[in-house]
Symmetry: C2
Subunit: 344 residues, 2 copies
């Protein structure tokens, strides 16, 4: 839980350190040019193709209305631009939907890190009553009712005896999600292209490291690698940090995990308003200013916020082209959509 | 309203008329190999690209949850596989969502033909309180708030002074939808490939014409070209034909339009269960049998139904590949999603 806060230093807006790239490389890492590996799930083209179909298929939800892509929309930065997502029966979720883009690089999944990886994460929303409201058994019955899906599972998991399983469903989705990597101007800069970032973006990067933002927001995802309390120095307002959501405490039951969250990964942050786990802040400048007071204990000047936002814009990447899938068609044995809310 | 019903004839299951293709060409028409033209809306690549973005953009709905693709899902036959669609606030629609695939060839849009074409249709669901619950003004405010959309409208409608308009929004969607044409084995057969359809499919086609199905389900979309009462010979059950939905009567106020609907176009019908405007029938065989009794006044034998369904399967086409769009990102002036139901 220790964090080194650099002392605020005098800031000259036009100063770009000559060793900026070297400093950045000591803190951050460029995205790889190939699909990353994931634990216990060798990625194959067949698994990716199956995972893409599952990711876009609304029939994995009880209602047949909601797909993974409903809340992690690849068209809009890999999230849904809502404070919290709309789920089964129009129920409102409890935390802001994080982007699926580059999520494979996070240390763990969900705002509180309660899922070790994307295959563990994929099993959550499917079963959450306010999200997809489905059950593993019903998901598998749905998939097994469509011969095309059975063929795709056979191709994706050829070595296994029982192929259409909830574990493999999650592994296929993880495989597809691992391809959702978005190289950005910041990566070009890290890779040696000094003009890939504008002067303002480079000044913002220098300031980001100088002010101490990079003490937490570091690594390949510019965040997503560690856990810290929201309100490290000063408590945010109760609107931004609702009292009842205790963050990682709910996972660990450890008193020093009160209001602790996984550090937000900042890639594509300009596309993923509103901000924070509560989704209460729509303006990126305001979000940066709040981070200044709550995490660093400093009031950032307007021009500093502008430069930091300029740097954050250099993290907006190029998403891979995804051909919209044609899904298997239902059969007589496919479970029918259930749109009512259970118990109502 | 006149319809010629051919007298039922004895049917030999293995008989395929030697002039089957000629007879079919007198009744049906193969899909064209190029994008069809539409009235008052020259189609350009820029308009198609803009229309695709709009079609997939949930921010054209008040809630930011629902896009055109939510109910006319290109992944699942161009519809949503629900009895009736789920809209704003989880409200249930009144009629089954028709497929958008090949809809450009229908004589008019909606089950009752109340929209003359796709650009008129596109304005409906956006404003319907139980669908997208939005207003033209709010749609335009949303689009104008995103510079990328303004650029795309400029490119799509270069000759106009006022480019980002609700009319142009609808025209762009129409342009994209006009590209959603799905050539099928039936088209290959009409074009001269005698082995593109199986023997059963050809027998089914012969039967389809012989029984009189093609008296209504004719033309390029195997339907979609005319209006007829549901229950021409015998009234369907009140479940399948709910009493309160008077069909085209609501459009024309003419007494002989009671329970009149646009003849369902049958392309891709195997992908678009459940069936009829009520969406109450999930099984295509059952739907065919109901058509036999209600429209033809005959009880079709099981083997006849099977052959007719075999023919209908030859109408399942190849959808064009659609790259999932990356949408413009929101700005400070983009209206925020409104998820509550008005008046609640």
């Amino acid at each position: 839980m220790a964090v080194t806060l650099l002392a605020p230093t005098a800031f000259a807006a036009d100063s770009i350190p000559t060793d900026l790239r070297d400093s950045a490389l000591a803190t951050f890492r460029a995205l790889p040019s190939t699909t990353p590996t994931v634990a216990n799930n060798p990625i194959t083209p067949e698994k990716i193709a199956l995972g893409k179909a599952l990711f876009f298929d609304p029939r994995v939800s009880a209602s047949g209305v909601l797909s993974c892509n409903s809340c992690h929309n690849l068209a809009t930065g890999g999230d849904d631009n809502h404070e919290t997502s709309i789920g089964h029966g129009w129920q409102k979720g409890q935390r802001n939907a994080p982007t699926v883009l580059n999520a494979v690089f996070n240390i763990a999944q969900f705002w509180d890190g309660r899922a070790a990886d994307l295959k563990a994460q994929a099993k959550g929303p499917v079963q959450a009553g306010i999200e997809m409201a489905n059950t593993p058994g019903q998901v598998i019955a749905t998939l097994k009712s469509m011969p095309q899906y059975v063929e795709w599972f056979d191709a994706a998991f050829p070595a296994e005896a029982d192929r259409v399983t909830f574990d493999n469903f999650a592994k296929a989705i993880e495989a597809f999600e691992a391809t959702l990597v978005t190289p950005a101007p910041f990566d070009s800069f890290l890779n040696g292209d000094e003009v890939a970032m504008t002067s303002e973006q480079k000044q913002g990067l220098a300031l980001f490291m100088d002010k101490g933002c990079s003490s937490c927001h570091a690594g390949i995802n510019v965040g997503g690698q560690a856990y810290f309390p929201f309100g490290l120095v000063e408590q945010p307002s109760a609107v931004v940090l609702p009292e009842k959501d205790k963050g990682r405490f709910a996972v660990t039951n450890a008193a020093d995990d009160y209001y602790v969250f996984r550090v937000a990964p900042l890639r594509n942050v300009a596309l993923t308003a509103p901000y924070f786990h509560s989704g209460k802040v729509w303006d990126l400048k305001q979000a940066v200013a709040i981070m200044g007071t709550t995490q660093l204990g400093v009031v950032l000047a307007d021009e500093e916020v502008d430069l930091l936002v300029a740097f954050l814009n250099s993290l907006t990447g190029e998403a891979p082209e995804v051909a919209y899938p044609i899904l298997p068609s239902e059969t007589a044995t496919t479970p029918r959509p259930v749109t009512q809310i259970s118990g109502k």
